[in-house]
């Protein structure tokens, strides 16, 4: 399909009518643009339902999940271990393979995604469903999530 190969010197001036239109800038700090329903943000883990099987730490492509001992969850049923996943957000690539492979479905991903810090150590924390869910605001300061 051949197109005519000439243009006009004055056609760009018609683009100046954008001056009248309202800019479609999302003024982020003032306007909160909520992420979509399925957004893959930080993890949350229901420590009761989780059986500490370690599937998530094996499937993680970036070796980001380490199983951390939780002595208070030493249930007696077969197959459950007193271990809970600890996620290092200096490695995680937010691919949600761990959520897919979790047998009990306790490990989920929530819509919070902001964590800015000048200390590297604050990027490693244990997802706990009781902490993350209470804050509806999407821009959550997760500094307080660190294990005290």
């Amino acid at each position: 399909m051949t197109i005519k190969r000439e243009g006009s010197l004055f056609s760009p001036f018609r683009a100046l009518k954008q001056l009248g239109k309202k800019p479609h800038t999302v003024q982020i700090p003032k306007v909160v643009k909520p992420p979509a329903e399925r957004y893959r943000g930080f993890h949350t883990n229901d420590l009761e339902k989780c059986i500490g099987c370690g599937n998530c730490s094996r499937i993680c492509p970036d070796n980001a999940i380490k199983m951390v001992p939780f002595p208070e969850y030493a249930k007696k049923e077969p197959g459950s271990m007193p271990l809970r996943p600890q996620i290092d957000y200096g490695r995680c690539c937010f691919c949600a393979l761990c959520v897919e492979v979790c047998p009990t479905g306790s490990l989920q991903m929530v819509k919070t995604f902001t964590h800015v810090d000048d200390k590297k150590e604050s990027f490693v924390f244990i997802p706990d469903s009781k902490v993350v869910h209470e804050t509806p605001d999407f821009v959550l300061d997760t500094k307080d999530l660190r294990r005290k």
């Binding site: 800038t25 643009k33 492509p61 290092d88 957000y89 902001t114 964590h115 590297k120």
Partner: protein
Amino acid sequence: MVDDEKIVSEDMGVQVEKNENMEMRSFGTVKRWATKRSLWMVHYCTGCGGIELAPLMTSRYDMERFGMHPMVTPRQSDVLLITGYVNIKTLKRIIRTYEQMPDPKYVIAFGSCPINGGPYWDSYATINHLDKYIPIDLYIAGCMPRPQSIVRAFEDLMDMIQDGTADGYMRYKKYYEPYKANQEKIFRKWW
């Protein structure tokens, strides 16, 4: 706060006087406010995170509302954004760019790769901990952080500049020898 006593360390050989940091000099608060409100970033897309800078710089999220503007050469800029993983070849250029920037200069590391290696933790070509080689003021979580997180990081950096805790460039002078030793271990010939 930055420690007030005179940082004179003979073994370092680099004398960092007290008035080196900006608070003590005249009009300190005004200068810090001006630096805060007009941070110019080096136009250098070091890794994959650079693609999230594009929506920030253009009409949808418009970073220029904070006075931030991508400048071409390190001579004219204040902030160096390390967007994502750092290859060894890129690391040499990052260090050179960082050293060309005039003081006060800041570094923000995007995403999980500069923190602990990210998905390339076992790759022979990328380094895992960027703060072994250059001082970093802020880290942002996210495998490619969203524009909202990046703007949140800019706000945090502005607060840190205002109260003087963003002292990456002073730490670079203070620990100049260990940084240089680490850099020498990576590159066989410097040029």
